[in-house]
Amino acid sequence: MDMLNALVSGFLQCFNLSTFNLMLIGIAIGFVVGILPGLGGPTAMALMLPFVFKMSAVEAFAFLLGMTAVTSTTGDITSVLFGVPGEPTTASTIVDGHAMARNGEAGRALGAVLMSSLVGAVFAGVALGAAIPIIRPLVLSFGSPEFFMMALLGISFVAALSGEDVLKGMVAGGIGLMLATIGLDPISGIQRYTFGHLFLWDGIGLVPITIGFYAIPETIELAVLGTSIAKQEVGNLGGVMEGVKDTFRHWWLVIRCSALGCFTAIIPGMGAATTQWLAYAHAVQSSPDKERFGKGDVRGVLGPGAANNSTLGGSLITTIAFGVPASVVMAILLGAFIIQGIVPGPDMLLPPPKGKLDLTYSFVWVIIISNVITVATCFLFLKPLARVTQVRGSIIIPLILVLIYLGAFAEKNAFEDMIVVLFFGALGWVMEKMEWPRPPVLLGLVLGPLAENRLFLSTDNYGWAWTTRPGVIGIFVLTLAGIFYPMIKSRREALQKARAETTPGEAEPGSRGLHFNLPTLFAGMVIVVLAIALWQSRNFGYRAGLFPWVIGIPTLILAFGQFARDIYGKEKKATRVAMSVESPVEVAPAITRKRTLSIIAWTIGFFLAIWLLGFSYAVPLTILLYLKFAGERWFITAAVTFFSWLFYWGLFEKLLNVPFPEGLLITLIKGGE
């Protein structure tokens, strides 16, 4: 009864006039922050923290949570439309969401992602409300060993993220885990793969990697095809309502992914950056037909859409019940708790006379209400938003380039992050061309540190005795089942299929013999880099070296397997031709080459301009030149340049005070005075 009272009281508290107004302001800020890449929820919250001083507790959290709750929702919009992640938590939406936009289904993808976001948020609210009494004992029964096993379970999802080629996927996952070891080893403090650069001490950030991995290849393709983002018109089928219907068509998937996001987020260190990929993997794994994933399957949008929103609820619980911030956003929220004189802990889960459950419930309500408001508002704008995908590529490309570099720089105010973007842009582009799956790299990258840390905490604490804990064994069995069940299932299906029809042979036998082609070269390079990395790790010592060895050696062996397949195997020419039929736009190879070189030159040129002239000159100059070279009229050129400069200058320079570095040449000129 008390709990019910708290639930109702929490709800009513949200509708106090000033609270509601502050929530609306928070939502409006979060809306913009979510859409803009590089400008993340954490930054926005930190900037808003001072305003919280004068608010009451409910008001403060309505404001802050309202702001945070919508960032993952609107971040999805940028991911879908431009292939640039609006937030680090919305990267996985790009894989199928942006592919849908390219197919002319932007409206449908947006409808689906918004609707599933709403479901995710509501589900998280309800599930948490219901789970509150058991949460504390449940979480306390989990220790480092169980957290490690959960990370391992997450890593096993790599197989599902690999697409048709599990071997490549596993190598890619291994590469991701190896990338995660860059930086200061947290256990012994030894530098791993930092090459003496302080910048690499903390490892490489998820944001620049994701931006590079997806946004740069997408930009190159956009330029090569010479179309708008949407390559074709598909009429109503690509509409918003269709996406909404999709959410209900795949209702169980959406619910399962919501649950996955919400409950895994209770583990400290598992934020939406991780859960979105787990949800994506789950969507792939649980779908009987997997062929369209990565090419614009709506299920690949629904899963992450739901999970990255439900995650907030789960993280909130660890923060409230234990005072352990599950993510950066939560760490800042914790600061706000303290400002408000609230001590997170068990009382937050007890009904009013003893505790503050009504306040906790008001948080849950804020998450739900702010998402309802956001999604409703978005639907009003979706049609014009989706139309962005029909704007000429030549106008959109320079703007995407601006978003790429601003997004990369502004997260940590680090110039080096722009180099990371270029490097991973090149890598992502090559991987795409060579048909290597990219999601496993990112999954490895986000789970690697968690796995390594918890493994060492477990062995430090318990020796190897932790492996016999019941929770550990339980999760291990679950992991094995997750790996083998789909394998067995697909084998059985294949057998049945084989019985039903005698296979008419593969499309084309292809030529046997040694192939010294580009895929072989790439696989060879992977081997070389892994080998060098392993060779480097010989000096790390046992504590810092164990993880790179345990990951690096099997990955190297698998990479040799891939190399062998590439050099002495069937060439997959037949399938590749079949795939390109999907694209209605055909570009002659000579033009492709010319356009590719040109866009690469522009991308690098923009970076050089930023380096030499600084953002404030490079942004307008590059946009102007690009538009002029693309043959745009002066009026459009001037207007687009002016408004994008105004946007950059007003928001990033004036309002946010981002400390952009001065260009090298400018410094020289000024110094020479």
Binding site: P42, T43, M45, A46, L47, L49, P50, F53, V139, L140, S141, F142, G143, S144, L184, P186, I187, S188, G189, Q191, L198, F199, W201, D202, P268, G269, F322, G323, V324, P325, V328, A331, I332, L334, G335, I338, I339, G341, V343, P344, G345, P346, D347, K412, N413, A414, N453, F456, L457, D460, N461, N657, P659, E673
Partner: protein, 342 residues
């Protein structure tokens, strides 16, 4: 800028009075922005403090400049420290705020340090850390006597080698007092250590009282967590009954290790610094502004709300602590190095 420097040199050369010098500082800061380069990310303890200061410090600097916080994260704030030393112009417009454990790091030869602690200009520190060791009731370590008598090593949570608290403090206590300790390191912050303690994975940990007293309040009040030891030069008023670690030290070396590695480190952990070579009059102006801000009623009210304690460390004490680090006996240094990094 250059023109100003010339003008300033002329003024000093002519031996103008203090009043006119204040006026020149006033002219300099008018309409400008002072930036506080914080070595940690937005929302953390260092950042919260810096932002609270930034909101109120401008009006205490002659000319009333704006004060903005800039987060330059990385390498445990070493990137910011190197930046303030090497890159930032010594014009009195850049203030650095990074972790003071790096100063000890320099003496111990920590990799990546490109500054010389003795050349920084300090404008003050708002508070010193008060290191305490807190244990859960469930661990059975309810007092220092029980700790000393423990048959098996007591599991204590850590974050990473070289971290002032919990790691350095815990390692030094183990080495200096011979306490039975098994340091389990690798948690992402003291909040995770606390969660591990509540779940029974470790017995507790040693870190700042300012943090423990806020985040573990409930457990302390109910007796589910107990502060069994403190390591501070001055006993914190709230910790009157908690024994001081240094009293249990048996040798001069042990006492010295605690004094340098824990006590000394606590005072300089949250310093605000200027790049070497900042003009003396601006340094003076910023020092005065810093002191005045810490006494400013509005700032105090803000700080109280955010549970930021105030207990300014005089600049002379900071400078004494820093120069003390460089006069340490080589034998003690190599001992410390062994204790902290092996």
């Amino acid at each position: 800028m250059n023109r100003f420097l010339c003008a300033w040199t002329v003024i000093v050369a002519l031996g103008f009075t203090n009043a006119s010098r204040a006026a020149s500082v006033d002219d300099f800061y008018k309409g400008k922005n002072v930036r506080i380069v914080v070595g940690f990310s937005a929302g953390g303890g260092f950042d919260t403090y810096a932002r609270a200061l930034a909101r109120h410090m401008g009006k205490h600097i002659p000319g009333g400049p704006g004060v903005v916080v800039e987060n330059m994260t990385g390498a445990g704030s070493l990137i910011a420290a190197n930046h303030v030393f090497k890159v930032a112009k010594p014009d009195g417009l850049t203030v650095g705020h990074f972790i003071g454990g790096l100063f000890l790091g320099q003496v111990l030869g920590q990799a990546g340090i490109e500054f010389d602690a003795r050349k920084f200009e300090f404008i003050g520190a708002p508070i010193s850390d008060h290191v305490v060791c807190a244990m859960t009731k469930a661990s059975g370590i309810s007092s220092i006597d029980r700790w000393i008598a423990a048959k098996t090593p007591v599991k204590m949570g850590g974050i990473a080698p070289g971290t002032s608290t919990p790691d350095n403090a815990t390692r030094i206590l183990k080495a200096a007092l011979g306490l039975p300790i098994q340091l389990v390191t690798g948690y992402k912050g003291t909040a995770e250590v606390r969660l591990a303690a509540e779940g029974g994975e470790v017995a507790g940990g040693c870190w700042g009282w300012d943090s423990v007293s806020v985040t573990w309040r409930k457990a302390l009040d109910s007796g589910d967590a107990v502060v069994v030891l403190q390591a501070n030069r001055k006993t914190h008023p709230e910790l009157a009954n908690v024994p001081q670690a240094i009293k249990f030290a048996k040798s001069e070396e042990a006492r010295k290790m605690i004094d340098v590695g824990i006590h000394g480190d606590s005072d300089i952990v949250r310093t605000y610094t200027l790049p070497p070579g900042t003009p003396k009059d601006r340094l003076q102006a910023l020092r005065q502004a810093f002191d005045a801000t810490l006494k400013d009623a509005e700032f105090v009210a803000d700080a109280k709300k955010s549970r930021l304690n105030i207990g300014p460390i005089p600049v002379e004490d900071i400078e004494k602590d820093i120069s003390g680090l460089f006069k340490l006996d080589p034998a003690l240094l190599s001992k410390l190095k062994e204790v902290l990094y092996n």
